[in-house]
């Protein structure tokens, strides 16, 4: 599974999928701090992820 972290534009590759909640937990991110996007669709924390997914995690905190 490929993860794009925004706004840093950092790419991560993870082998295990699970769901959005476990993915965020592995990355140390709270669900209310990011948008989780797959194919232009927003995902809630309970949504299952597949190994072939390309996921964008966009931080939402505005700074400045």
């Amino acid at each position: 599974m490929q993860i794009l972290l925004e706004p840093e534009n950092k790419v991560l590759t993870l082998d295990r999928a699970g769901n959005v909640c476990t993915l965020l937990s592995r990355l140390g991110i709270r669900p209310g701090q990011v948008l989780v996007i797959r194919d232009r669709e927003l995902l809630t924390p309970d949504r299952k992820l597949n190994p072939e997914d390309k996921i964008t995690i966009r931080k939402i905190v505005s700074r400045g």
Partner: protein, 311 residues
Amino acid sequence: MKCTRCRAKAAVALPRHNAGFCPECFLVFFSRQVEKAIKDKKLFTNQDRILVALSGGKDSLALARELQNMEYDVTGLHIDLAIPESSERARGHVIRFCRDYQIPLHVIELEREDLPIPKLKKFFKRPVCSVCGQIKRYYFNRFALENSFSVLATGHNLDDEAARLFSNVLRWDTAYLGDQGPLLPDEQGFVRKVKPLYRLSEFETANYSFLSRIDYSFTPCPYSKGASFTFYKKILDELEHHQPGRKISFYEGFLNRARNTFARLDQEQGKEPAPCSCCGYPTTTGICGVCRIRKTISSRTTASQPTFSRT
């Protein structure tokens, strides 16, 4: 998770409302929250000319879009801070947004005002965010008054307001506590200021902007690293994660039970604003903050000029 309203697949989970929404129902939820803020706090009516401060971020663009959807009379004002790359990008987002949604737009360039933020950063020891905020508030207010807008609307959301309240409480700053809220009435040279997104979290405005396909800037200001507000937001996020609803109860509790007390205290102890002796802007310190910034730059520039003597 299913949508609380229509049972379709949810796209947004909102633990503080114990609810989830599909894209269509989330937009309805968002509009209702904005409408409730406007009506409950009597922020403005359809007769008002509203100037919306547009930074190019999700909050201000979401606010302008939503107010336009509700058929309010909206005009945008963007302040170009002249920060390399960042300001150009932000300005591009605002220009494209206003063009696409046919919202009239004005731009003030700090470079032209001889107040570009990178230059100011060199002259001040205090965080440049506070200098930048002071300058933006000055130009937003001045532009609104000089161009007959009755209301200045900003995209401050619940997270911004809760973090500001937290900061003011930590310092027990009675003047700021008496002056914080979604509505600041027009008085003594200040236009009416409103924050119609105060009931909505940063997460909710981000979801709204994404679902409304608003092309917003999500790269942070390069000068904001280490800002205390970002730190306070993280603390409050942690609290909200463990106790959903804590932010809104903290902020609304303040508005309903404490704000008036601080406002009274400030009236008794605070100073009345008078026109700035340089530019006429209302201030309690004789010379307003922006004129003081100009004076500091001018004195330090003169002091650092090399002197040449004829031999």
